[in-house]
Amino acid sequence: MVDLTDLAFYAMLVVTISGAVAALEAREIIYGAIGLAFSFFGVAGLFFLLDAPFVAVFQITVYIGAVAVLILFTVMLVREGRWMRDSPGRVGKLAGILTAFALGLSLILAFLASKQLPSAEQNLPAGFNLIYIGQLISGPDAPVLEILAMVLAASILGAMMLAKVDREDAP
């Protein structure tokens, strides 16, 4: 008998991995940006399956709603004919595949060999507690939240200053 949760996990796995591959390998870079949005969506689904719906919704609003749209805008602003030139040649591609394969294989072997990890799902207590997140953010982690707000404001201001067009210099 197939568990419905397992089915959802595999569906999200396919969406995430294929979206990530499409983001890097799609011929047109704008299709790559859309594949990246699909990959973000799959990760949000994995967060849902891990009993973290608040983080999943946060992921959807911030990543798909803000970052993916920002990337799409940038791609449309910068799109040119020779802008797709990112082929490093056969040797570079082989080196990249070998590096990624070695790293992924070592990580997977380390996870599979570890004795500390619980192998299958035991009876977990109900995991999600929104109140606890709120207590953490407004209590011990409040300084982090404030600093993060400053970092966000500073980065947005810096991005605006960087991308600003001077009227006098404009052709």
Binding site: A20, L24, L46, F47, F54, D141, L152, A159
Partner: protein
């Protein structure tokens, strides 16, 4: 049954894909994609460990902060890409050598 190890394997695969992109691609936008994919892999690890080993909300809080930080970082990187395109008419990172000593 889907356990902790399955989520860790997904995250390892995502991270390897990100590393592959960082090594092979020379287009600045593809590098941004790779970095975002790797950040997502790390976030999956945080949530999975938090769910299966600790069952409190500290990991989720860290991931919330991480997502916000990644958004700020993406804004700055994309502004830099736009500026590089305006100056060099190119986003190939091997051509951007203005800071080379």
């Amino acid at each position: 049954m889907i356990g902790l190890v399955d989520y860790l394997l997904v995250s390892a695969a995502l991270f390897a894909i990100g590393v592959y992109g960082l090594v092979t691609k020379r287009n600045a936008m593809r590098l941004v994609f790779s970095v975002e994919i790797m950040i997502n892999a790390a976030n999956i690890n945080f949530i999975a460990f938090n769910r299966y080993l600790f069952q409190d909300a500290l990991g989720e809080t860290i991931v919330l902060f991480s997502i916000a930080l990644a958004a700020a970082e993406a804004a700055v990187i994309l502004a830099i890409v736009v500026v590089a395109y305006r100056i060099h008419d190119d986003v190939d990172v091997s051509e951007l050598k203005s800071l080379e000593g």
